[in-house]
């Protein structure tokens, strides 16, 4: 085969271009906007116009105003809960998938991932109609005699956001957990049996620890997607379901305070980056070779 020296010049230029693009695109579309936001967060607004003098005012306001920090914490707790519930539901589902044989396994996996292809807004509407006063959930609970009459417990509050986000994001948790479970060589499980372990012992000592990287990726995925979402809280949160995403969104809309919005975005970005780093740290396999 031809060595590097014989590759035509045009082809080499081509590959150089691809390389440059591969590095340039993330810089242009991710890092530059982030940098602009960071810059904006040090400006301020005076009577509807942006004042381009640097100050820490926005950050001081974020940390001292009694509104923002509590919402910030509540939102983080909410999203951690979403991540935890998603994991608890997705793990058994993913585990069940790996026990299926060949074709069934992937057919069912695809079925579980289909919601990812649907419009986000339509999914939220669908879930809202399930949770609403006349929705499926209430009808079922009343029908089973668990509730006397339809409850408003599931719409336009924090519960509604929690449930909706969980339903929306579960596929993002199933996939990484499934992949990490599927990567565990069967022979390790047989070796564990061979050494006298019971089925439960094999699961707790071999399967579970070896799938933790997938769990970590899933958790950080779900958390990051949940905390960045303002649409869901907007649509199902009502007045009491106030999240950080909604405050942030309002700064760019009704409040029209871009610099403060940018400062809030920076705070959010710090949490997101931290979550990604934590997920990455635990998502890495310690030693994959066997």
């Amino acid at each position: 085969m031809s060595g590097t020296g014989t590759i035509p010049l045009a082809e080499r230029r081509w590959s150089l271009l691809v390389t440059v693009l591969a590095f340039a695109l993330p810089v242009v579309f991710v890092l530059v906007p982030l940098a602009i936001f960071l810059g904006y967060s040090f400006f301020s607004v005076d009577q509807g116009t942006i004042v381009h003098t640097l100050s820490l005012g926005n950050y001081v306001r974020f940390f001292t105003d009694p509104i923002f920090l509590p919402v910030f914490w509540n939102t983080i707790v909410l999203c951690l809960s979403v991540a935890a519930i998603c994991i608890l539901l997705a793990y058994p589902a993913a585990y069940f998938l790996t026990t299926l044989k060949g074709r069934w396994r992937y057919a069912l996996l695809m079925l579980l991932l289909v919601p990812l292809l649907m419009s986000y807004v339509i999914k939220i509407y669908a879930i809202r109609s399930i949770l609403g006063l006349n929705g499926f959930l209430n009808k079922a609970l009343v029908g089973l005699g668990i509730l006397q009459e339809p409850s408003t417990l599931f719409v336009f509050n924090m519960n509604a956001i929690l449930l909706t986000l969980t339903l929306l994001l579960i596929p993002f948790a199933i996939l990484p957990i499934f992949l990490s479970l599927e990567r565990i060589p069967q022979v390790l499980l047989r070796a564990s049996d061979d050494l006298g372990a019971s089925g439960l012992q094999t699961f707790l000592r071999i399967t579970l620890p070896l799938s933790l990287p997938g769990v970590a990726s899933a958790a950080s995925f779900v958390f990051v997607l949940a905390i960045g979402d303002f649409l869901t809280p907007q649509m199902v949160g009502g007045i009491s379901g106030f999240t950080f995403g909604r405050i942030l969104y309002s700064q760019f809309g009704t409040a029209y305070n871009w610099p403060f919005g940018a400062a809030l975005s920076v705070a959010l970005a710090v949490v997101v980056i931290a979550a990604i780093l934590v997920g990455e740290r635990f998502g890495r396999n310690r030693g994959t070779a066997i």
Partner: protein, 367 residues
């Protein structure tokens, strides 16, 4: 431990995957304390035998008895056997001591005792310094020894080893062969060792079980297999051999004649009653080892024929001549192995020579 009692017996064991038969009516007895090697080409069913005994796979029919008791349906985690897997199958998230202690810890042995026995086992396999490493940080030979220690520590009645040395390079493989053998002698546990490498089998085994296409072809000591193969497959597979086709002739005491393209040959049938009773004219092979073939001299009255040297190959301690013989010195290829000499061989390619082998060094196998 008594080498004469049977530890494990397989009785007409068959195994099919779906409708595909993989093992046909296997009968095998493993003696307590022996080093038994299962030898056969790839795909002959060696791993399957091991998996059936270990309990990783259910039997299709037949039974497996341990100390005379049927264990065919005993679950894998209750069988007093441990396996050293083909690719070691070490747990990547556990350290060396975590791996080695695993079998004790799932049986809720107290921590202190686990620590003591892990240290002992690692001492035995000479890995005392590596307790806190992860498998990914070990070399192939070290992983191998961790896998062995992990199996030994449970004090199984039988250790099953599936081509444990196949992934190692030649030098390391030699060392590990000796090492395994010496450990087996030390702990006196029964080893069932699978390999496709006949040199490895000769070097390590007390007895060898030769498998082909899901059948056991022969079971015996390396010496028996080498000098008294009971079929064409074993005669060809086990060590280098010369096979010459022919028709059986008359019996004279412990010898029997066979008519071949090299003329009438006479071979030993000692301790092989089935060759004595085989009908005259039955198809068979005369088999003689390359080292049994030599240049004929005045003492050789039987088994004399001539051939042409096609090739001479120096192979270190020995030199191998490839010879064409039979009608017109074509059609029958033979090998002659002789000790190498410092001033080279006097034999040259193209030379016609007279050859012979002693009747008691030839044997017969039925075709």
């Amino acid at each position: 431990m008594n080498q004469n009692t049977d530890l494990l017996t397989l009785r007409s064991v068959s195994k099919s995957y779906g409708t595909v038969p993989v093992l046909h009516d296997i009968d095998l007895s493993i003696k307590d304390g022996e080093f038994l090697t299962v030898l056969g080409p790839s795909g002959s069913g060696k791993t399957t035998v091991l998996r059936l005994i270990g309990g990783l796979e259910p039997l299709t029919s037949g039974e497996i008895r341990l100390d005379g008791q049927d264990i065919s349906r005993m679950p894998i985690n209750r069988r007093p056997f441990n396996t050293v897997f083909q690719d070691y199958a070490l747990f990547p998230h556990l350290t060396v001591s975590g791996n080695v202690g695993y079998g004790l810890s799932v049986r809720h042995v107290p921590r202190k005792e686990i620590a003591r026995r892990v240290a002992e086992a690692l001492e035995l396999v000479q890995l005392g310094r590596f307790t806190d490493r992860f498998p990914a940080q070990l070399s192939g030979g070290q992983r191998q020894r961790v896998a062995l220690a992990r199996a030994l520590i449970c004090q199984p009645r039988l250790i099953l080893l599936d081509e444990p040395l196949a992934a190692l390079d030649l030098e390391l493989r030699r060392q590990m062969q000796e090492f395994l053998k010496s450990i087996q002698r030390e702990i006196k546990t029964t080893f069932l060792f699978v390999t496709h490498d006949q040199e490895e089998a000769i070097g390590m085994a007390d007895r060898i079980c030769v498998m082909q296409a899901g059948h056991i072809r022969q079971l015996g000591t390396p010496h028996e297999l080498y000098y008294k193969p009971n079929c064409e497959f074993v005669a060809r597979f086990f060590g280098e051999n010369n096979l010459v086709a022919g028709k059986l002739g008359s019996v004279q005491g412990e010898l029997r004649s066979i008519e071949t393209a090299l003329g009438r040959l006479v071979c030993s049938i000692r301790d092989q009653p089935h060759l004595k009773t085989a009908t005259d004219g039955a198809s068979a092979f005369a088999a003689f080892r390359p080292e049994a073939l030599h240049l004929a001299d005045a003492k050789d009255t039987e088994n004399r024929f001539s051939g042409t040297i096609a090739d001479m190959a120096f192979a270190g301690s020995s030199t191998v001549a490839t010879i064409t013989a039979g009608a017109d010195h074509a059609g029958q290829r033979l090998r002659l192995r002789m000790p190498s000499r410092v001033d080279g061989s006097t034999l040259k390619s193209g030379a016609t020579i007279s050859l012979a082998f002693a009747p008691h060094e030839g044997h017969l196998v039925l075709a």
